[in-house]
Amino acid sequence: MTWADPHVAFLGRGPVDPQVMYAMFRRETEAARREGYRGLRLVADMDWLLSCPPSRAELADFELRLDEVVRELGATVVCAYRTGHFDADTIAEMVAVHPATVGAVPADPGLRMWNVAGGVWEVTGEIDTLNVEVFERALASMSRGASLLRLRASGLQFIAVDGIQALVRLVRSRPDLRVIVEDASLAFRRCWTLFDLDLLLPMVEFHPEPSGHHSARVGSSAAPVQEAR
């Protein structure tokens, strides 16, 4: 068991720098493996952010980037958000960017997104005008610096026009980006086609569901967990 003071390990004397935190995870994982452990398990009391609170958008972006690192390292990370210390909207958005939660969720965002492989993101739940900002911010984070974004949508039970428009805005703002939507529902594909987006935005492709693929439904229960898969 290693104890780390985030003010020293992550912050130094400056503002939140995700790269410093990701580098620490990598160092600790390598150290754990050198010592014969299978990997790193980390519990982070997110109260350390309260002294220098990033915006909700910055925090969601940080969590999604962290998810990539966690997946890449094969680590298990529990991000513990005290529901009395963060507002409901922040808690909801943090739930949305974790694959699973432990404890009672005071504000269910209705959707979840997490990294499953390099450039591949699972999106589950339902997207409408009430949570589309969360989805749109996540799309920007997921695609930053990438030329290909793969969205696994087999667990996406509903997407409203606002959700489709978020995807449209992303690809129109990023002409260099190719998006592959995997396993989308017939309703999603039907909407896309009814707006002629299949013709207007050929950089977005819908790929059929691979045989034998089943998405796990993520239970809602308050501490978001970054899980190794």
Binding site: D128, T129, F158, V161, S185, L186, A187, R190, L194
Partner: protein, 324 residues
């Protein structure tokens, strides 16, 4: 009525020609439509005919080998929801109308089997054609009306929505034509009351309200026998209309569902007044436009959409057939 000319001749009107053909029975239908089509073919004008399958067969037989030069589409499919017809004409005109070559069409959206609710929306469609193509040129649309089968008031309404009426090969200006219809989309036309058993459920802005509404719709739709695809369509359409209520209707509304004939009907009401263009929901959205996608989608997904809006509020009824 003034006679414009005794037959179609070879007029190349530079304006949109929207004419009602009044016919009685099969023979008169062919007598009125075949010369119109042949006149277009003689001038190499692209022609689209949207009538029922039986009439398509009859026209093909009458035209012989020339039928292959005509585009046909089944109005039972294209016009199942009358709000989908204008986009089909728009597509045809955009694809085929060139500066030196006019286009023409025949469309029969109103037939004796149309239900009362559909009929009103079809009549709105006929009026809205004049709005949709007011600035268009060099295209002619002939709308057959079977005066033997249709009620007299339906034929009277055709005279109000068509600037020209054709009967026995004679074209006359319609004295009854309403050039500037006071309510082209019939937004002020009263709807029959919802059945008493269709209990209203209130909804208001909240984190989960749309999710709860969708679940509510799904439960009722399945109970009423809609299959999965039709249920998905209704849920999407309801979501978009309810989203409009949250954004523009005071942030709250009511929803009711009931079965009516072979369709599930979902009504969403709110306190807002729709102030959009009369063609709202009938124009394919562009990538750059800010809104107007929800009603377009609802029209594409539902078999009938009734929109009524007054200063007292807005009501939208979405119909999805159980056998769709």
């Amino acid at each position: 009525m003034s006679v414009i000319e005794t037959h179609h001749a070879r007029e190349h009107s530079r304006a949109f020609r929207h004419e009602a053909l009044l016919y009685a029975g099969h023979r008169e239908f062919l007598d009125g439509t075949v010369p119109f089509i042949r006149e277009g073919l003689a001038c190499d004008e692209p022609t689209l005919v949207v009538v029922d399958a039986v009439k398509i067969t009859a026209l093909r037989a009458a035209l012989g080998g020339d039928a292959d030069r005509v585009h046909f589409a089944d109005m039972a499919h294209v016009g199942r929801n009358p709000a989908r017809i204008i986009p089909r004409w728009r597509q045809f005109v955009d694809e085929h109308l060139h500066a030196d070559r006019p286009v023409r069409g025949i469309g029969e959206p109103i037939w004796a089997g149309r239900g009362a609710a559909e009929l009103v929306e079809c009549q709105a469609h006929e009026t809205l054609l004049n709005v949709a193509f007011a600035d268009s040129h060099a295209w002619s649309l002939l709308c057959p009306y079977d005066i033997e089968a249709l009620a007299p008031d339906v034929v009277d309404e055709a005279r109000r929505s068509h600037p020209v009426v054709v009967r026995h090969g004679t074209r006359r200006r319609s004295r009854d034509y309403l050039h500037a219809h006071p309510s082209p989309a019939r937004l002020d036309h009263p709807l029959p009351p919802a059945p008493a058993h269709a209990e209203p459920t209130a909804f208001a802005t909240g984190t989960h309200v749309l999710r709860m509404l969708r679940a509510h719709v799904q439960r009722h739709a399945e109970d009423y026998g809609l299959d999965r695809d039709a249920t998905d369509n209704l849920m999407l359409a309801v979501n978009e209309v309810a989203t409009n209520s949250l954004r523009h209707g005071g942030g709250q509304g009511t929803i009711r569902l009931w079965c009516e004939g072979d369709a599930v009907v979902c009504e969403i009401s709110d306190a807002g007044q729709l102030r959009g263009h009369p063609l709202l929901g009938r124009q394919r959205p562009t990538l750059d436009q800010a809104g107007g996608r929800g009603l377009w989608l609802a029209n594409q997904l539902c078999d009938l959409v009734q929109i009524r809006s007054t200063p007292a509020g807005t009501t939208v009824r979405l119909h999805v057939a159980t056998g769709a």
